[in-house]
Symmetry: C2
Subunit: 159 residues, 2 copies
DNA sequence: CAAATATACGTAGTCAACTACATAAATTAA
DNA sequence: TTAATTTATGTAGTTGACTACGTATATTTG
């Protein structure tokens, strides 16, 4: 395999490599939705999918669930509200909270997407099902980092 | 292992997961350099490391090498020039080309970083050396995608 | 129960990549 | 040897995430 300098630097550039692969997959994701004639952006996925599974959530709990900072979620919600895919109501008990849910249009879109997801899941399984499984590797690394951070580990090697 | 909805959605959210892991590692990377008293930003790594290994390159060939679009490289180069870590000269044969090289200060910085890199490599190896090795998984997936794109594979499953 | 603290949400601005487009120089073709 | 095409670089503006900070409401504590 031909190697450029960055690939050859291996572990040093792992963050760059992850980023690159993520971008590549996201771009192809967009193309797949387009090819199936569905007006959907991959970045919407975490919010919409979570609401699909959990029906109603506040802004912050939604952010926690998808692992985003809450301002990122807010800007996605604004966009989704403009698309009329979600709607929000005030929590009657805790009035600080804004409860988010899918609209009928949103539910319909997600239902229409199920067959596309199946295809995506199959294609992704095909891609990741190599000797070292990427999804499993990510899960394992995230679990390892939860135990002890990267910084903490690096410092342990310091003389 | 406790699972949130996105993790549970697995393959669908792989791009999101890669992104998140990349960010996390990049942030800790910055902290590691700081902890070692080195004034260095992880985003500089691809450019500087490539110049370290290849000495002189034009803007576009450097971009290709690190896998960035050339405007991204240009803005990094501007920053690095301000830091006096790189310098550029005109190619005498092809006057369109701007040749980039490390300054003495740049070379010195990179030399000082070698011990930090060793620590980073060790810590990264520790993190990625789980049952499914992340670096190997990335390499395998990138090779698989080169053979046949994600989009192409997805379309093959379409009825 | 008043004060201090914590939580929920929002806005503003930043960051590190990108795409789209423009210009100039080099190369190829008519 | 002009004309057309390709290549190299640059600028402007976008994107999708972030942090910092402010305000309002809830909760906890003295």
């Amino acid at each position: 395999m031909e190697q450029n300098v960055i690939d050859a630097s291996g572990l040093l550039a792992i963050s760059t490599r992850l980023q690159r692969l993520s971008d590549q997959i996201r771009k192809d994701g967009l193309l797949i939705y387009k090819a199936f004639g569905i007006d959907f952006q991959p970045k919407w996925f975490p919010v919409l999918y979570t609401l699909y599974k959990k029906s109603t959530m506040s802004v912050v709990s939604l952010s926690d669930e998808i692992g985003y900072a809450h301002p990122s979620t807010i800007s996605l919600l604004k966009e989704l509200e403009k698309e009329k895919l979600i709607r929000s109501t005030k929590d009657k008990i805790d009035t600080r909270k804004r409860l988010i849910e899918l609209t009928e249009k949103g539910k319909e879109l997600l239902a229409n997407m199920e067959p596309v997801w199946e295809v995506i899941i199959k294609a992704t399984a095909e891609i990741t099902n190599t000797e070292n499984n990427l999804m499993k590797a990510i899960n394992e690394v995230e679990a390892t980092l939860k135990e002890k951070s990267f910084l903490h580990r690096a410092e342990a090697y310091r003389k």
